[in-house]
């Protein structure tokens, strides 16, 4: 944990690679400011979209005069409007994220920084938020490369131990951010109450949702033995186990079922799900897996 704190969230080499990437939204969203990407909205841009009949009150600048000359009818040219992208990163900073080497939280921060940097480079509206109670000050809205340091500063100050239930944190996020956009939820999904309602809530925002499921190798292949009293670091729940090969096998199948259920839940609802191990370097995750999944290109 301590070692991961000293390493920078973004390596210079990675920055160079990330500069060439851009965030992709599978949906075209309306932004508040003019951005670098097309929107569904017809508007002012160089990209032609459609014609429609003129109705009084339309902007005369968009009447296709050549067509009028030929057909003696007034048609209005419609153009696609280019917009900016609202990109959110929702970071789970519960105590359970403070495990592994590097910790899952550190990994999540690195991932958030990388994705946020891509968004900043493309003049997207980037906001990184920690899942937390309503009173918590939300993360800053960032735009432009210059905001990178603010983003990193914000990430650095996120501390583990905020055990707000996922569903509450997401609800809080949704209340504050009504706009549409791309949201990346980075969490280990270890919620006793279940992660499903939280994801449904995000879905209701009609956002383009990416779920990055972070698991440390210790969770995937636990190296434990003996008679153990497992203590949950979040709620101090106790599970008494006697480690045996059959039990470990059973745990693994439970984990596999857990992952499979999350994947299926997300896929059915149009969310993109990605299970990430913290022992896979961040740059490889971003450059390979997230590109494959279509979050960046």
């Amino acid at each position: 944990m301590s070692t991961s704190q000293t390493t920078p969230l973004l390596e210079p080499a990675l920055l160079a690679q990330l500069e060439r990437l851009e965030l992709v939204s599978r949906k075209i969203f309306r932004g508040r400011m003019k951005g670098e990407r097309r929107s569904k909205r017809k508007g002012q841009s160089v990209e032609f979209s459609d014609f429609r009949s003129y109705t009084p009150g339309d902007d005369l600048r968009f009447i296709d005069w050549n067509l009028y000359a030929r057909l003696d009818k007034l048609f209005l040219k419609l153009f696609l409007e280019e917009e900016d992208l609202h990109f959110y990163v929702l970071l789970d900073a519960s105590a359970s994220m403070d495990f592994g080497d590097p910790t899952k939280l550190q990994y999540a921060k690195q991932l958030a920084a990388a994705l946020g940097f891509i968004g900043l480079c493309r003049a997207d509206r980037v906001r990184i938020e920690q899942i937390g109670p309503p009173k918590q000050t939300p993360g800053p809205v960032l735009r432009g490369r210059r905001s990178m340091w603010r983003m990193l500063d914000y990430l650095e100050q996120i501390e583990p131990g905020d055990n707000t239930p996922l569903v509450d944190g997401v609800k809080n996020f949704c209340l504050r951010n009504s706009g549409k956009g791309v949201v990346v939820l980075i969490s280990d999904l270890m919620e006793k109450a279940g992660y499903e309602s939280a994801l449904r809530m995000l879905l209701a925002q009609q956002m383009d949702i990416y779920v990055i499921h972070l698991l440390s190798p210790e969770e995937i292949e636990p190296d434990i033995k003996g008679d153990l009293k497992l203590v949950d670091c979040e709620d101090a729940d106790i599970a008494e186990i006697t480690v045996s090969r059959p039990l470990l096998n059973r745990y693994k199948s439970t984990l596999a079922a857990f992952i499979e259920h999350a994947r299926e839940f997300c896929t059915r609802r149009g969310m993109m799900y990605l299970m990430a191990r913290t022992d896979v370097p961040v740059d490889r995750l971003v450059m390979n897996y997230l590109r494959q999944r279509g979050l960046v290109r």
Partner: protein, 678 residues
């Protein structure tokens, strides 16, 4: 005998024990499991993992406390073992057992199915099965000889294998040798010295002697059982007054003294049953029936049969009683009739008319072929081998190759003793063991040993001997004529031969060369009788004339006319034994006479070869044929009555319970180490 027998002594102690131990284990079990705490990101997955194990079934709960239940089971088993549950069973008496199995002919009786020997082996097998661990057993089979089939061992497998090796024989039974073999360890010999007194050479190991027999043997006198505890297990039908058996108890042949060409065969039959039986008796010659008779045998009585055979020189006769009874082996008698073999006698004498005449009688000629030679055939002392005459060489060869059964040296003595029986008349043999005294005159005969075959019927009354010398025969000799000057006639064994030495001459030659008569014995009747005895005894004529018959297991001495090196014996079943080699005195000794029947002797193997002679092996044992079971047997001074040989015993279960407990313990250990949740 109660099912439970508390090993702790008092019941309240056991009760306290039974109440406290499981409680203690339960307490310990709940106290002992101290799990190591380990902080994990989330117990979410773990709870879901062990959730399945906690489903609401008794078995699932059981699995969690499998070790506890195993421990409780273990302690229950131990406690039950402490109760010493048992039931009444039977056990052998003692911890060292000697199983004496009778394998004699009578054990082939079929009055118990399948036969007595099988029954005995079965009973002995049951006893071996009942042996406790640590018990040792020994198996001895006995007939007229004892055979230790298995020495003391605790291996029941070995003992049973030894039992399986015991085979039925046709032999008679004699317990004494078996008893001696059995008592070797139980009654070690004692030794003594002046200081310590009488001490045992080894520690006595008392043993229980299980006798599986029908008691068909003579009482064993002069035997002290000592530390042996005899238990007689009678094999056969108990309380039977009679037995269903007809036996040939004797069968013999002899030449009709009046008509030489005729041979008579006599058989004696005995009925051991309690009813008169009419039986057909068949006489077979070399396997084919030549005569038959029907005779009636009274209950518990005997009858004789007689057959006349004419123009019969040699062959094997078999007398068969056609009667379906319990013992088959005694329903046949065998007799071998061989052509009479004449003894070969060499007489070396300057001249002895009386001896020549006595050997020349018809009777003597029937018994022996006599060759007479002069004393010049004997090589003189210091003679070179090259200087020997042809006659001397021939004599040397004959003497060394046992060509003659008997060589009589009259008034002369050889330089070396021949390979034959000898009779020295008026000379001492060239042996240091024989010492001759001075020639004295006249010796007075004091005593004659007429029990010796040489002196049978020989009377020395009024016999005058003019001069003679006393003899100092070697050890082991028998003095046949005692005179006032000492032994006058003695016989001594020499490496399988016998040398008879007479201390007086019959004819003597004085310094002037005149023949003098030294005794008037030659005028008496006893002289030719003596010569006949010499021919029969020293010449072996008697054994040649007799048709040989022995009981199973007894050795047979075979003499051949022609000097051969090897003889091949064919058993009644047709099997050829390995050749037997010649022993001293031109005899062959054959010992494998285990089966009754006719044995054929050939010079070369093969059925087509000429049969030199035959001999018969017959049971002829009323003790074996009388199948009545002896209720008691006498072993020395002790009378042993038949009993089952089992002692009532409590069969304990605690060993098995402890064994089961050990199994549970092992299983618990396995479970603990593998953490196998089924």
């Amino acid at each position: 005998m109660s099912f439970l027998s508390n090993a702790l002594g008092s019941w309240w102690l056991w009760g306290a024990f039974a109440a406290m131990l499981p409680t203690a284990i339960l307490l310990l079990y709940f106290l002992k499991l101290k799990r190591q705490p380990l902080e994990v990101p989330s117990t979410y997955l773990w709870t879901r993992t062990i959730e399945d194990l906690h489903v609401n079934s008794i078995w699932q709960r059981l699995r969690q406390s499998l070790l506890l239940f195993l421990q409780l089971l273990l302690i229950l088993l131990v406690m039950f073992a402490l109760l010493r549950p048992g039931w009444s069973g039977r056990a052998l008496i003692g911890d060292r057992f000697i199983f004496l199995i009778d394998a004699s002919a009578s054990m082939a009786a079929k009055d118990v199915k399948p036969n007595r020997l099988a029954d005995a082996l079965k009973k002995a097998g049951e006893m071996i099965d009942a042996m406790q661990s640590g018990d040792v057993g020994m198996v001895i089979s006995f007939t007229n000889a004892a055979r230790v089939e298995q020495t003391f061992t605790s291996s029941r497998t070995k003992l049973k294998a030894a039992l399986a090796d015991i085979e039925q024989t046709d032999r008679t039974s004699d317990l004494s040798e078996a008893l001696r073999a059995a008592s070797g360890l139980a009654n070690p010999g004692r030794t003594g010295n002046a200081e310590e007194g009488d001490v045992a050479v080894a520690e006595a190991l008392p043993a229980t002697l299980y006798l599986f027999t029908d008691g068909g043997f003579d009482t064993v006198p002069d035997f002290s059982l000592g530390n042996l505890e005899p238990i007689y297990t009678p094999i056969g039908v108990l309380d039977a007054e009679t037995s269903n058996n007809v036996a040939v108890v004797a069968f013999n042949t002899s030449r009709n003294p009046e008509r030489v060409e005729q041979t008579q065969a006599f058989g004696r039959l005995e009925n051991y049953g309690d009813a008169d039986v009419e039986v057909d008796v068949e006489l077979l010659l070399n396997g084919s029936v030549i005569d038959a008779q029907r005779t009636t045998l009274p209950a518990q009585g005997q009858a004789g049969v007689q057959f006349e055979l004419t123009d019969f020189e040699q062959g094997g006769l078999r007398l068969v009683v056609q009667h379906d009874d319990d013992l088959a082996v005694d329903n046949s008698g065998y007799a071998a009739v061989n052509s009479t073999r004449r003894a070969r006698i060499l007489l070396i004498t300057p001249r002895n008319d009386a001896l020549t005449m006595a050997l020349g009688t018809d009777e003597a000629q029937k018994l022996a072929a006599v060759t007479q030679l002069g004393p010049e055939v004997l090589p003189s002392a210091g003679a070179e081998a090259a200087a020997l005459t042809e006659a001397q060489k021939n004599y040397q060869k004959a003497a060394a190759s046992a060509r003659y059964d008997l060589i009589i040296y009259d008034q002369c003595a050889p330089l070396e003793m021949p390979q034959s029986n000898t009779l020295f008349i008026g000379r001492s043999p060239p042996l240091e063991s024989w010492q001759a005294g001075e020639v004295l005159s006249p010796p007075l005969v004091i005593d004659v040993d007429r029990s010796h075959p040489l002196m049978q019927m020989v009377s020395f009354d009024n016999v005058t001997i003019i001069e003679g010398f006393s003899l100092k025969p070697p050890r082991g000799s028998a003095v046949l004529i005692d005179a006032d000057i000492g032994a006058l006639f003695a016989i001594a064994p020499r490496e399988g031969f016998e040398d008879a030495v007479m201390g007086f001459e019959i004819f003597s030659v004085d310094e002037k060369g005149e023949v003098l008569v030294n005794t008037d014995w030659l005028k008496r009747l006893s002289f030719p009788l003596f010569v006949k005895n010499v021919v029969e005894y020293l010449g072996g004529g008697r054994s040649a004339q007799r048709s040989t018959s022995v009981q199973p297991g007894a050795p047979v001495t075979i003499r051949t006319d022609a000097p051969v090196d090897k003889l091949y014996i064919t058993s009644p079943s047709g099997a050829v034994f390995p050749p037997i080699s010649r022993e001293r005195e031109n005899t062959f000794v054959f010992g494998a006479t285990d089966v009754t029947g006719l044995y054929e002797v050939r010079e070369k193997p093969g059925r087509g070869e000429e049969v030199l002679q035959r001999f018969a092996v017959n049971l002829f044992s009323p003790r074996e044929s009388d199948l009545r079971l002896r209720q008691t047997i006498e072993l020395g001074a002790q009378e042993v009555s038949g009993e089952a040989g089992w002692a009532p015993a409590r069969k304990e279960m605690w060993k098995w319970l402890l064994l089961a407990g050990l199994g549970v313990l092992l299983f618990e250990w396995y479970v603990y180490n593998r953490r196998v949740y089924l």
